[in-house]
Amino acid sequence: MKPVFMTYTKKDLINLAVCMVLSVLVIPTFITTEYWYTSILIPWLCLALATIGQQVVMGYTGQLALGAAGFMAAGAFAMFNLILRVPDLGFVGSLIVSGLIAAAFGILFGLPSLKVRGIYLMVATLASQFFIIWMIDKFGWFKNYDSSGIITAQDIVILGKPFTTPLAMYFVCLAVTTVLTLLAMNMARGSTGRNWMAVRDMDIAAESMGVSLLKTKVQAFAISAFYCGVAGALFAFCYLKSLEPVAFDIKLSFKILFMCILGGLGTINGAFIGAAFILLFPVLLNAVGNNVFHGAIDATIISSIEQVIFGGLMIIFMIYEPLGMAKLWENIKQKMSLKFQSSNVKDLKSSLSKKS
């Protein structure tokens, strides 16, 4: 395929256009129930963004990290404090700065990755998860000395206009996610991403070829934490509409890890697929429980079954398709196009034979 614009092929641009039309025009016109925006689309975009952050560090750079929710909490509470204490920054400015604050934490807790890898690194990153949550919990300043434990998030105001309806918040999330996703795709395709992947595939070989391990790993952790921080801020302000450290506990970190792995390591679209699956599957299971069995099955049992299925899928994917759902999708597309092509060839042959 020939590149058309900035080394993007025609197919890439068409994909982008289709996605934009779908999300900007089709979804707002056809989906009118608030439930879809507040409970599915907004958290999907936020969690997909956090999963991209996890992808950067885990899928692209190959560093086993398990602290995404900690960075999300850092981003969310940074946002709260920035809007509260530095109102001149505005929403977008605060969002960027809170991402940067999360990135600072990412650099700090990413440093052990220079020494260790695998499960060792996982333990080191767990420290970030527990430390950040504890810090927010214990120092009243972060919560503006609110004693109730749950703080209401401020309304989103951009350039003097309030964005408080579900649809408006959806557009805010969509805009941020689109910009950051395009950025991530560009990074992944460019020299930055090549360095990440070189480190992932064989760090010693990468180093001997002149890729600086220090720079690459720290950069990956910083960018990952930035994405998680922004995602956390959006998650708190658009979805939860409140801030509490408990919302960002280790369970959320595991959830994002699952989204990343089931979606497909080392892919950006995998982040969206994985997030959609992990988010929608429980909804589906609950609907089945309510409509097919009419509530005969206890809700706790349904959530336990959901856990069993997620775990089981994880094992199955590790055995049969370690590259996750994105790869599965790719395979299906390839098979379809092959079939399509072969049928085209048959048509051509039959028409030729008719002519002769």
Partner: protein
């Protein structure tokens, strides 16, 4: 001055004994890592699963204590068998990270199954040993040390001695060590790999059950046990992943340090630093001695 010293002693001894509880969990990790170089992330879930099953047998079916324990142990053997068949064998040639992620999935399966079968509410587990200071020690040495802690320490010591003897002096132990050293070479001289794996996973399951009983008696049998078991990870990093004595010493270090830090430094930061102090301690260990105190040096071939 004497009182302060006594208090310090009490904190340290209490921490050390609580640390043996971490050691018990860490022991399960080490067993599997030693034999198969697999990091079993589901060990925490196994602790939860086994003790919940134990409680379920006792409280829902009114099975007597000893029989319920044996049934739960048998259940863990079945879990080990299924794991070996369904998870480990297909992943025989996969990379370490892949197997690690599969065991995270396994942990989810076990947690879900346990909750689906036995419910989500907190269960009380009574071992017949109270979690209160032993009067004799309190009177004579002026130290307040919980009977449960002492019991856990004794159980841990017994298990270590048992495992040590098993590894050192039995034919099975020799086979285990051979497989740990080089699985391919071991199977080529006729050591049945499958049996060894099954044995190791069953042993880890029983260790998980014992650890679960100790934790359950203290904190109640509940989902939080899984998170508690995560603390076995810093223990392993400090002690080394492949060393049984390391698991014990690591547990003792973590237990004592976390208590001392909590009591003497915690108040300056509003307390509850127990939650992350072990992990930060582990990071410092990683920076200076990545293989842990007793672990073998990690050598990576290019």
């Amino acid at each position: 001055m004497v009182d302060e010293l006594l208090f310090f002693m009490e904190v340290v001894v209490g921490g050390l004994l609580a640390g043996t509880m971490y050691s018990l969990v860490a022991l399960g990790f080490v067993l599997i890592f030693k034999a198969s170089a697999t990091f079993n992330f589901s060990q925490g879930a196994m602790v939860f699963f086994s003790v919940l099953a134990f409680c379920g047998f006792m409280q829902d079916f009114n099975i007597p204590f000893v029989l319920a324990f044996i049934l739960a142990a048998l259940l863990m053997v079945v879990v080990g068998l299924c794991t070996e068949r369904l998870v480990l064998r297909p992943l025989m040639n996969a990379s370490e990270d892949t197997v690690l992620m599969a065991t995270i999935g396994l942990g989810y399966v076990l947690e879900g199954l346990a909750q689906a079968a036995w419910g989500v509410e907190v269960r009380r587990l009574d071992l017949g040993i109270g979690d209160f200071p032993v009067p004799w020690i309190a009177d004579n040495l002026k130290l307040f040390i919980s009977a449960l802690d002492i019991f856990a320490g004794l159980v841990a010591a017994l298990m270590i001695i048992g495992l040590f003897l098993l590894f050192k002096y039995t034919k099975i132990g020799l086979g285990l060590r051979a497989v740990a050293d080089d699985a391919g070479a071991a199977s080529s001289i006729g050591i049945p790999l499958k049996h060894i794996m099954l044995l190791v996973w069953s042993a880890a399951g029983v260790v998980a059950l014992v650890a679960g009983c100790m934790w359950g008696a203290r904190a109640g049998v509940q989902f939080a046990l899984v998170d508690l078991a995560l603390k076995a990870l810093p223990v392993l990093i400090i002690g080394g992943f492949s060393s049984i004595p390391g698991a014990i010493v690591g547990g003792l270090i973590i237990g004592a340090t976390e208590k001392v830090l909590e009591v003497y430094i915690g108040p300056f930061f509003g307390g509850a630093i127990e939650g992350w102090a072990p992990y930060v301690l582990a990071i410092f260990f990683l920076l200076y001695r990545p293989e842990g105190l007793f672990g073998e040096k990690i050598i990576r071939r290019v």
